[in-house]
Amino acid sequence: MSDLGQRLADELRSVADHLGTPYVDAAGLAAAGRRESARRRVATGLLAGAAAVVLAGGLLTVLPRDGARDTVPAGPLGTDRALDRPLELPWWSPEDQILHVAGAEIPVDATAIVQVGGRSLVAQQVGGETTWETVDGGSRRRVGGTGEILGAPVAGPDGRLAWVERSSAPGTTAPAVWRQEDDGSGTGQTRPDWRGRTIEVVASQARRASLVTVDGELWAWDFDEPRPTRVTGAPGDLALGSVAPRPGGVAALVDGRVVAAQVDPDGRFHVEWETDGDGSGAWSADGEQYAEVADRRLDVATRAGTVGMPLEHDDLRVIGWESDSEVVVAQWVEEDRAVTGVWRCSAVELRCAEVADAPNGRVLLPGL
């Protein structure tokens, strides 16, 4: 042991030896443990016996009573065999620079991971620019052409990607164009009056339409149409960052609410349903459920209402859905800049379990 190590050992032992013996009420602790065990059983009974349930889209959903939010309390995070299987979402280890995805281990240097439409995208910093690659079945492919991709690509329900790419035309103020994958080659679309303006691709819906905000304006482009269409009926001024991808549609933040919306074939924006939230959550693969952590609760919202479960720990955030009923949350400690725990929560059973062999420490998870 080094000199410093020996000093540490000596000092820590000296501190500990001077503490004395604490008073511990063992019987009281046992009683507290029995109350905790009983509370978990009561919570499970409440869920089974008192809540109204419906089947919606194949998912068992707890309806709110009288329009109020149904917040049947579940037990604190605990270990359950069914929920504690290893993580299935992608994650990246800086220690060995390996991307773990779908059972494969792929060497890659990464600065961000995004899970879009069932596909994993990895961002890398190359010469001051950000490049994106798709990772499919262990193979990697660069997204885009020669221009730098601005922001993160988005994917539609068919997995087709859309992104904004800085034009590489020399000697000009390069406008950003947006492209969609077309059998791998990508096709671009831009307008002269967009030169110099900020463009962000925010969603990709069915019919291969992408939605792009241009300085707060919402535009849609059907791949089969020669030019994009200005979206009408969108609520107020949609600032960049207030419109986001949602599988099969688009999401927006309006007046402190998360809005699930669609752009109709005629270019009109219409709201399907909305819920409380700040946009830090994640959508299920079908875009019909939204999960977000707030105030030590995991809330899962659908158009039928919201159910929630209390969480035992602070600093948790949703990092993704692993099935149509399972949400994964991670504990991110800002001080350590590290992940200190990963849990899988069931939106049906309203309980969570700590994921076995979860990546901890300075790892990258989707959205982190």
């Binding site: 000199d3 410093l4 540490l8 000296s14 511990v24 029995r34 800086p94 600093d315 200190t340 901890n360």
Partner: protein, 166 residues
């Protein structure tokens, strides 16, 4: 499914608490740096141990289980001042520490208490509990390489502050 611990096994739990709480309390104090916080942490951990006592009592080392529960309850209980999305960086932030008094016999203790939670846990487990790198990895459920890098970062921070050669 959780069930009540039978009366005879409750007795063994109380015996375990009586025999091990002092040792666990010392670890809790070295982690938290505060007596009240250490008492709270110890209570949280021992209640969790009770909930799993039927299984824990049959384990090779119930004390090791209790220590794991204690340390992980500490690491996961941190409350930051602000909840933001941050991009990961490759080197840990320097810990803010006060200048140690060279005449202070306990010069390192205030610096250890100022380390981030994960680094503090690794230091306590390694230099007070005497655990190996593998045992620390199992306790904190992290990779052995992460234990090594975390310990290195902690020692580097301490050395930087006390002015020793690394």
């Amino acid at each position: 499914m959780t069930t009540d611990v039978p009366v005879d096994e409750t007795g063994s739990y109380e015996e375990f608490v009586a025999a091990r709480s002092a040792s666990l309390f010392r670890t809790a104090y070295l982690l938290t740096g505060s007596r009240p916080d250490a008492e709270d942490l110890l209570q949280v951990a021992l209640v969790k141990v009770y909930a799993g006592w039927r299984r824990v009592s049959k384990a090779a080392s119930p004390e090791a289980y209790a220590r794991r529960t204690l340390v992980n309850a500490f690491v996961s209980s941190r409350r930051p001042a602000r909840f933001t999305r941050e991009r990961l960086v490759h080197s840990p932030p320097d810990a803010a520490v006060r200048d140690p008094d060279p005449d202070d016999r306990l010069a390192l203790w205030p610096l250890v208490a100022a380390l981030p939670p994960r680094q503090r846990a690794v230091v306590v487990l390694r230099f007070y509990e005497g655990l190996s790198e593998r045992e620390i990895a199992e306790t904190l459920r992290i990779a052995p390489g992460t234990v090594k890098s975390t310990a290195s970062a902690a020692l580097a921070a301490l050395r930087l502050t006390i002015g020793e050669q690394s």
